[in-house]
Structures are given as C-alpha cells and as structure tokens.
C-alpha cells in the first residue's frame, strides 16, 4: 500500500471511511517515517509503537463493529504538555524526565473518543516557555524546511512533525503565540481558540489565564475538523465554557463577499520585515479579490501587550510551577541537607535557565510592594486592549496582520537576549491577553530571506467558524499551504 504522506486529515478520513486504508496501516506508515526522519528533526520526545499500534487496532475494531466517529483511525501526535495516562509526559523538562502520567487530559480523551490514534509525544520549549524550541531539555527541534533554522516555539515539535509529514496533524498549546508563530515558521495552519473553548484539564499549566489548546494541520479545513473533536465543556475545568458543542466546519464554504477585514496600523509599522509586509499585502489583495473589503483600525493599547504579558505569564507560571518540588513526583536532587535544600536543589537542577528566569520574574512582580505596579497594572492593560478590540469589531469582522515581525531565524540568533526572543510574539500575544481566538495560515514567502510568512487572523470571541471559513476560502484560491519540504 502506498499512502500519500501529505494527505490532509480530511482526505485521510475519507480514505478510512471508504476502507481504502486502515488505522493500523496509517500508524505503521507514519511510525516508519518518524523512525527514519525524526532523528534529524528531533520533533518527537517519546514514541511507543506498541501502544500506538494497539490503539490503532482498537480504532479499527470500532469501525469493524459498525461504530462511527468523526476522525476514526486518523493519526495524531500530541505536544508533550498533554498528559496521557500511561505515557511518559515530560513538558520538555528534566524535571519530568521520567514522569509517567497517571491520568489523561480531556482534550486527548476527546480526540481518542473521536477515533484518533496517538503517534507519540512532541518536543517543545521547556514548560512552554520559548519561541524557538531551543530550551527543551531534550534538544532543539529543527525546522524541516531548513535544518539550520528554528521551527518556532514553544510548540516546535508539533509544527515540525506536521510540516515534515511525520503525522497528518498535531496538537499544541498557545499562551503567547506558541501555536501560531511555529505555524508560520513551518508553513502550516494553526489555531488558538477562544479561552475556555478547549479544556485545560490535564494540560500542564504555564499561565492559567492565557493557555489554550489548539490544532496544527496543513489546512484550515483540517483545523476545523480537529477543533470540533478537541473542543467542548469539561466539568473538571472551572474556566471551561459551558456551551453546546460546535461543528466548526459548518461555515467553511461561505463566500467571503462582504467580509470586512480590519487592519490595525499598529501591526504594519516599522518593526515588520519588509519582505513580510509585502507578502501580507499581496495576500490581502487576494482577500479583496474574494470579495472582502479592508478598513484601517486602531488598537492604541496593543503596544503594551508584550510588557503586560511578561508580567502576567511569569507571575502565573511562578505559582503554577511551585508544585515541582521533588516531593511527590519529578526530579529530586541526590544530595541535600534538609527539606528547604531539597526544594532548592531539585528545582535548580530540574529547571532550565529560561524557566528559572521566568519564575524569578514572576515571583518578583507578585512580591510585596510590587503587586499593584505590575500584576494589577497588567490586568488593567488587558482590559484596555480588549476594549480596543471591541471598538474595532464595530467596523470589521476579523482583524488581520502578519503573524510575526520576522520569519524563522537561525539557531542561536536570539537565544542570548531574552528580550529579542520575546519580541517574536509582539503580534500574537494580544489574543491571549484578551482571550480572543486567533490563527495563522500560510500566505507566501519573504523574498528577502526565503522564509515563510503567516497571515494572522484575530476573531471576536467564539468566532472560530468564521475565521476558519475565511482561511479556507483563501486556501481554495492559493497554493502556499500545499508546499512540502523535500524530506
């Protein structure tokens, strides 16, 4: 059997439903690709062919019994931040190097119920803190398009694996752009839904009020299928939105005539690489041809996104990571004098430099005397930014701009200076701060650098179906998303 490695999820589902291929065959195909290609990319942290094949068999058996499920037999790989019962789950960290999850995250369960088969656990920046996948304890991930460049982060493995055809789809998480920016760097479509749409239960927490689960795939159509499987109310998560399940594919084929695209002037300034600006402009022309109109909007407070984020995210993370103390699970230092020493050494040894930095920042901004000036101030800025968007949506349906100011960079280019690294997220962060849905889809190449450009779409709350429709229509009219690296 020869299987088209780069078949989309939609195509794969069709083939499975038509019994042209089985879950087991697909699992074997992708496991074989992982085995030969992953060593060069380091996209996976954990593979377990036995478990994978047993899952695939179980899904095939469901089909044989006449059961139906939306993605029955389709393979999926999960960012190593999702707990899966019985699988090692490391979060890219030495702290959890040998941690075997005792329960599964709700999103993983939902996808398994939908029939998906786990191919393995994907590499990521340690504790999701990073924009280049250079901070993982398990080594960097290479961009399949250019092995000297980063795939983006923190969901670097999630992006690299799909781009390289090691899996038709993957899950990531997005706290400040960690799905969207790697999607751009690897020429993929990635989406972060509205905060609360996907359950956070069983996903290792980084910044609780910003984290969201989301899919990576080659197309918007695929993302819609995946999101429909992932999303839904979860009683185990108090921040999960209690609302009926949605079919995110329902509006894909709507024509874009009448669509109003808002273009914030703050997203088109000097900081954007000229090659990226040009590619985005050309993409906007395509949108106009499809019937959309563009209108300039202003988000005056959006420039405070990055500072506000670098207060809120580290603050919440510093508290969320306190449980990693070597007492009940995770890394414990070998030698220590007393319990305080045990905590200090275990955490110093278990956490990498970036994680430690963020914990220290977070501890500081919450500490006595600084709370008002930092954490409280950042919270107020979140509201101002959200109000800016609210005003913008009075005159437009979606907001667009480039996903990142620069494309995939060389390894080490930014790892010296944390601030340089942080500015990668300058466009994506606002959607995490406000909780709005946002996505990135391929829209061309920066002719100066040869790197891919992503179109960033920020929707109003709970408007995922429309955003996916917008991206899908663009993808029907263009070919960027159909390119694949030669691997």
């Amino acid at each position: 059997m020869s299987w088209n490695t780069f078949a989309t999820v939609a195509e794969t589902k069709k083939a499975l439903d038509a019994k042209q291929v089985s879950a087991v065959e697909l699992a074997k195909h992708y496991l074989s690709r992982v085995s030969s290609i992953n060593p060069a990319l380091n996209a996976f942290i954990t593979i377990d062919p036995e478990k994978t094949l047993s899952e695939a068999l179980a899904q095939d058996n469901r089909r044989a019994k006449g059961e139906a499920a939306p993605l029955l037999g389709v393979p999926i790989a999960h960012k190593d931040i999702y707990l899966i019962d019985g699988w090692r789950t490391t979060c890219g960290s030495k702290m959890l190097e040998n941690f075997v999850a005792p329960y599964s995250s709700t999103v993983v369960k939902n996808m398994a119920d939908a029939g998906m088969v786990t191919l393995g656990k994907l590499n990521m920046d340690e504790f999701a803190m990073g924009s280049s996948n250079e901070t993982s304890y398990f080594g960097t991930v290479k961009n399949p398009w250019d092995l000297s460049r980063v795939p983006g982060g923190s969901s670097g493995g999630s992006a690299a694996s799909v781009a390289a055809g090691l899996t038709p789809a993957s899950t990531g998480t997005d706290t400040g752009g960690s799905i969207r920016q790697p999607a751009m760097f690897c020429n993929l479509t990635g989406l972060k839904p509205t905060y609360g749409v996907c359950s956070r239960y069983g996903i290792i927490a980084f910044a609780s009020s910003l984290d969201q689960a989301g899919p990576f795939a080659q197309t918007a159509e695929d993302c819609a299928l995946l999101l429909s499987a992932m999303a839904g109310f979860d009683p185990h998560d108090a921040t999960s939105l209690d609302r009926p399940k949605e079919d995110y594919s329902r509006d894909l084929s709507k024509p874009l005539k009448g669509l109003r695209i808002g273009l914030p002037k703050e997203f088109f300034g000097d900081g954007v690489a000229p090659g990226i600006a040009k590619a985005v402009d050309e993409a906007l022309d395509v949108y106009r041809k499809l019937g959309a109109t563009t209108v300039e909007v202003s988000l005056p407070n959006v420039k405070y996104s990055v500072p506000a984020y670098y207060v809120v995210a580290p603050a919440e993370a510093s508290s969320n990571l306190s449980r990693f103390d070597g007492a009940r699970f995770g890394h414990r230092a070998k030698d220590y004098t007393d319990i305080v020493d045990m905590y200090k050494r275990s955490r110093a040894e278990g956490f990498g430099a970036e994680v430690k930095r963020r914990i220290l920042i977070g501890t500081y901004v919450l500490s006595h005397g600084y709370y008002d000036a930092y954490y409280l101030q950042a919270g107020k800025l979140r509201r101002l930014i959200a109000e800016d968007f609210k005003k913008a949506y009075e005159v437009c349906d979606v907001v667009m701009g480039p996903t990142a100011p620069e494309g995939a960079f060389q390894f080490g280019a930014k790892s010296d200076d944390p601030v340089k690294m942080y500015l990668n997220d300058i466009f994506t962060i606002c959607a995490n701060l406000t909780g709005q849905p946002a996505m990135s889809h391929p829209c061309g190449v920066d002719k100066d650098t040869g790197q891919f450009v992503g179109m960033h779409i920020i929707g109003n709350y709970l408007d995922e179906a429309r955003m996916l429709n917008v991206a899908h229509q663009y993808q029907l009219a263009t070919e960027w998303h159909k390119k694949h690296p030669a691997l």
Partner: protein, 95 residues
C-alpha cells in the same frame, strides 16, 4: 528599575531555587533587560480601569457536593521519589 544582588537572593529563596553566588550576576544581567521591557507599562494611566483575567465574564461554576473520587494511591504514588506505608517521604521537617 533594577534588581540588586540581595533582591535576586531574596526572590530565589521565595521561589526555592538555588542560585549560586556566581549565577547571581548572570541572572541580574538577563533580568535587567526584561524589567526595562516591563517598565514600559508604567506610563499608562489606568485609573478607574477594572483588571481583567478572563475575557468572557466568567462566573464560578458550582459542583454538587458528592464524593466522586476513588482510592488510586498505588497509581498516584508510582512517580514518587520516596514513599513508604502510604506516605510520601521527605527530609524530616522540624517545626
């Protein structure tokens, strides 16, 4: 604003992360830049603005008071660095 070495030591202690004396200087340098970035926020007048942490005004959902969990001690202690007689073991704590 800049952090002194004492600040770093104090925060490291609060966060229970061992930072050796030579590391303190390194940490100081890296954090310096980050704090400059954060301080940008200070110029905004936010008087009268309500802070926000969840975009769609969420309210805490209440679960019925019922026991829904069962004993899974063995499974949950399988990752423990040290455990005995059902207890998690840690270095002796002197109150």
């Amino acid at each position: 604003m800049s952090l002194s070495a004492q600040d770093i030591e104090r925060i490291a202690h609060l966060a229970r992360i061992r930072v050796s004396p030579d590391e303190v200087a390194q940490v100081q340098a890296k954090l310096e830049g980050i704090f400059k970035l954060i301080d940008d926020m200070q110029s905004v007048n936010t008087q009268g603005v309500e802070p926000m942490s969840h975009g769609l005004d969420m309210v805490l959902r209440l679960r019925d008071d019922a026991v829904t969990e069962v004993n899974q001690r063995e499974k949950f202690q399988s990752n423990a660095p040290a455990a005995a007689d059902g207890y998690f073991l840690v270095p002796k704590v002197i109150e």
